[in-house]
Symmetry: C2
Subunit: 665 residues, 2 copies
């Protein structure tokens, strides 16, 4: 995963043994040497076989790698990333036009290796592979909650494993300014609570990522989403100040003053400084969600707008964006920003990142602008991998574009907004779901319509990522231990596996109803913060129920499995209840646990009717569906993920045509 | 954990909230500042509450820390490590004579915090604490298998959390030389397969450890266990050479030549160089297990012995050790070594590390030598935490020593020998068991005789360590995924939780019987390499069975739990069998899985008799106990850990007096 563009299976397999060796031919590039070192380490990790100890026997390495030429010193958009990998039972060859293809091909080889009846082995195969899109990104918001460097390194490791090639860092927002500026030290001194990256730290990360073929694109959001700038530099803003770091989440009034020349002088110096730090030719200026209230309230700004014949705030923002674009261009960068930056006066070399959707992207492409899709790829929406996988940058209006227009759609970026992201849950918010999006952006669309196949590959990716040190599974267990104050969390684990967290929007809606707004200072220690976005148990259970119903209730083995699972849920509340009462962070889960118990009981009753071949009585059905409706309501910011499957069982037992059990939702 | 020396519970508790603040008073020491930063980060991690953002309200911090004076720049043996911690519902105070006490007290505070019905809180308490022994060590053998720096950092983090204060690195042995020497670069160039620590890396680790109150003691084993030295410098040896790195495990012939002055010139330079790198005053020269064969076979050495009236190789080694001790002393270090270094000519300032046991230690103490206990603390023996916990440095002959002699017993070191240790299983081999040994070495013996209490504390430590980034649990899951080639490992997990690995000795014995000797190049990818040394499931199950039997089979709830567990084992083989067949690394587990299944069935039958109040028939009993005997035999280098509990059930059902179910063994 991602599935290669072209795969031909051969016969036999290459068994990995102690003597396994690699050699590099062709253009010498230190990054290839580093990659081979990592490869041997990872292959050893993946097989448990000590490797790297023996030189190639009789001069012929097991895996020969050949890159025609070195890729650019820092990876760039549009470089050739293709490779050809041949594996036979006697050896393997990896050839690529550039270093980048070698990096990708080595990752493919590592994914081919698995336990077989003859030992760890890679199947004989001929692969010709190249990405569908040149821009395959992951955006991490490090502002709303600070994400430490160690987590970014883990993200780069995982990205390399699934062939994502752009790490986009959302480095400033109302809630924090996270990147050191030597020109303007107060940005972090006053705007970061001490949580920021030094330039040295960022340089090291850039090198580390470049070594793995990954670009780093910085974003500094302007003119809105910029309160944290104004804590140290209130003169940049359109209001009076003073400012403090914003703790709430949402869209706020503070915005830069587009009418003062000093603003552009500041930005020129700032962008100049940061353009040197970040080697990538693309520089992201955000540009989203300006509410304009500070502009409306500022008489000087209003006068400026009248003097320049600007009809509304949108035109004022256009003016700002055009000025900033010239500064960005002056520092030899291409500007990238969210949908809002697009206006007729913009040069054609800017890139639009679309949070609005493929149609908006298609509109931009028609006007000659390049774009990236992010709508549908928001990891904080807590959707399933299948839901993200179904989103395609070339869908909707984009499907109707001419080939030339289509070529302007560069790819996409999955985004992790950080309202509810912390150093403790960042891995499970990103992985393994981002790997499904990576496949959408790399692999041929016609080969990747099978969701079941995607999940099989995703399961394989998941344990490999833990082996590489990503903590998407282990951090969940640790957080359950934290809530319970013990390692002995079996009943809490049962509940945790049966639920899924509310996405960003619904969770904030709940806040509004509760009047307990969550801010950047709110503890993130509840079940909603710990459980993975997608419940694997619920997916497996749904699949089981679906196939049981489709098989007309004949599969005894499936029935036993379903019955056992339902009994576990039914009986779990009595074991869990004392644990919930001991801990405030758990206490609000009591109704969730009771609902799960009721669902388990309902499912067992339904199974009983099915087992006896009785049609469930109508009043039982009515009552039970009412229980189910109640269990659909989120509580303590989690949904019970197994509800739809149990509803299917109940409906089936009442003799209705069985609807598919549905996915995780 | 470790339990403090003196604890008085107060009333109420200190609730941890957003405004929690800390301040340091007294002697200024940068290490206290670092410790407070880490403390706030860890407290935030432990509670999920964002901390560190607000200064102390009205000048009064929630936790006030006071160290009378700074401890030594690098921690030293015998410094005052005591502290007093007062927690009330309104705040907390931590006072200590030195920085070291502050470090320990902060860890104690972190352990006090847990989820309560009023939120995360620490109970009101008055603690006066100081260690029982000044030397509380962890030895890691990084030679037989190389352990990367990242794992050493994790070890230091975990050690600090449980108040261990010496990291002893076994840096050279036959299988690899792991420490860069600038004087003698061929030591690592030819003796390490490229797997070694640079001096810069080691300096960074030393600083990191010192910041956490932890000493680092280097060991370079001589004159035996030294093949890796001779690959680059064959002239040091007593044989002809040339040498290659030893891949097998055991005791080998190569030994340094004690009769050549060049040997001591080399060691003088080498020890001089490394004594500068490692600031700790103790320098470990190994000294164990010289078989003397190279000495016997070398005519010059034999002539030297005759000329110096040496009767045997032991006297020759004494001569060597005395010469080396003078070199160590010349470089301002105290020599430390294994039992074998002790001889009448030695000065009293050396330290004996005993792999032979408390009696040997007591003997040394009587002669005026200081010592450390390691016998009984070998983590590679794969014993339970309870077994290690029962070992006391002051037991046996040591209990009979005079107070002055007793003061020479400095403490102990738990040892992780690396025949079967890899970067992938190192965390689970060390933790959480080493925490039980840490408690033995810190806490008053009279307060720490209750094994059940120890396990309760150990469970608490376990999830905290995962939260801190130790991978003792997560690496197990990742390795199961590796063996199965999928993330979907439920039946393999069931088997994994029911077994425990063979210890070093029995595993090597099996090798001998099988004639498939395991070496440093052998893949370490089987279940034995993945499962934790102690089966928690087996322990819980044993406790359950024991209490069920003790309660005369009346506890229905316990019976249901036992029945459910037994049914899972009985039914597991059919789910697991296809997975085992697909993978060579799993295939040999088939008989283990079948035995577990048979045990589950036998236990259910026993439960059936008990349930019906029938005495199980004698022939059933005979047959069943034969099944159990068969299941006791190790297979694929694992034991089934649940055997004794099932045996107890079977015996009980046959109407015999029920023996206690026993522990994990």
């Amino acid at each position: 995963m991602p599935l290669p563009a072209k795969v031909q299976r051969g016969s036999g397999q290459l068994v990995i043994e102690n003597g396994f060796s690699v050699s590099a031919e062709g253009q010498h590039d230190a990054r290839v040497d580093h990659a081979l070192q990592r490869f041997m380490k990872d292959l050893s990790l993946e097989t448990g076989i000590p490797l790297g100890l023996s030189p190639a026997a009789n001069g012929k390495a097991t895996l020969t790698v050949h890159a025609e030429k070195a890729s650019k010193p820092y990876p760039e958009l549009g470089e050739d990333e293709s490779y050809t990998l041949d594996v036979t039972s006697s050896g393997a060859t990896l050839t690529a036009p550039t270093t980048l293809g070698v990096l990708h091909g080595l990752e493919t080889f590592l994914q081919l290796v698995g336990p077989t009846a003859q030992g760890f082995a890679a199947p004989a195969v001929h692969i010709e592979d190249a990405p569908r899109f040149p821009w395959r990104g992951l955006m991490i918001d490090v502002s709303r909650h600070f994400i430490p460097m160690s987590a970014l390194y883990r993200a780069v490791d995982a990205m390399a494993a699934v062939k994502l090639n752009v790490l986009h860092l959302h480095l400033s927002d109302d809630q924090g300014f996270r990147m050191e500026s030597k020109e303007f030290p107060k940005l972090t001194e006053l705007g970061s609570d001490g949580n920021y990256y030094t330039q040295d730290e960022m340089k090291a990360l850039i090198e580390y990522a470049a070594d793995r073929g990954i670009r780093i694109v910085p974003e500094f959001d302007m003119p809105g989403h910029s309160t944290s700038w104004f804590v140290g530099y209130p003169e940049l803003s359109s209001g009076a100040g003073p400012y403090t770091i914003e703790r709430r989440f949402g869209i706020f009034n503070p915005a830069m003053d587009p009418t003062r020349e000093e603003t552009y002088k500041f930005l020129d110096k700032f962008i100049g400084e940061l353009s040197e730090l970040f080697p990538d030719p693309y520089f992201h200026i955000g540009g989203d969600e300006v509410n304009g209230k500070q502009w409306d309230a500022n008489a000087k700004i209003q006068a400026f707008m009248r003097a320049h014949n600007m009809k509304n705030n949108q035109e004022l923002q256009q003016y700002f964006t055009e000025r900033v674009q010239k500064i960005v261009a002056k520092h030899h960068k291409y500007m990238i920003g969210w949908d809002e930056i697009l206006s007729p006066g913009m040069p054609k070399d800017i890139v639009i990142q679309s949070w609005r959707g493929p149609d908006s992207l298609a509109g931009a492409a028609k006007q000659g602008y390049r774009g990236l899709l992010s709508s549908g790829y928001y990891l904080d929406a807590m959707e399933t991998a299948a839901e993200h996988y179904a989103v395609d940058p070339m869908s909707g209006e984009a499907a109707k574009l001419t080939p030339q227009e289509k070529s302007r759609i560069l790819g996409g970026e999955t985004c992790a907004w950080a309202e509810f992201l912390t150093p403790q849950n960042v891995d499970s918010r990103l992985w393994p779901r981002a790997a499904a999006i990576a496949e959408r952006l790399w692999s041929p669309p016609q080969e990747t319509q099978d969701v079941a196949g995607m999940y099989r590959r995703l399961e394989n990716v998941s344990w490999r990522l833990e082996l590489l040190g990503i903590r998407h599974r282990s951090e969940v267990s640790a957080m359950l231990g934290r809530m319970a104050g013990t390692d002995n969390v079996a009943p809490l684990q049962v509940l945790a596996e049966a639920v899924r967290p509310l996405g960003l929007g619904p969770r904030q809606d709940t806040d509004e109803k509760d009047k307990t707004e969550e801010t950047a200072l709110t503890p993130m220690n509840r079940l909603v913060d710990a459980v993975p976005p997608e419940s694997e148990s619920a997916r497996d259970f749904s699949d089981l129920v679906e196939s049981f119903i489709a098989g007309h209730f004949q599969d005894r083995r499936a029935e036993t499995e379903i019955r056992d699972e339902l009994a576990v849920w039914r009986d779990n509340d009595s074991a869990l209840e004392p644990m919930l009462q001991r801990s405030t962070v758990l206490r609000k889960l009591a109704p969730v646990s009771q609902n799960l118990s009721a669902l388990g009981a309902a499912g067992l009753e339904a199974l009983g009717y099915l087992d006896r071949g009785e049609r469930a009585p109508a009043d039982w059905k009515t009552q039970t569906l009412a229980t189910i409706e109640k269990a659909k309501e989120p509580q303590a910011d989690v949904y019970i993920a197994v509800v739809p499957a149990i509803e299917s069982l109940v409906n089936a037992s009442a003799g209705l045509a069985a609807a598919p059990a549905g996915g995780n939702k």
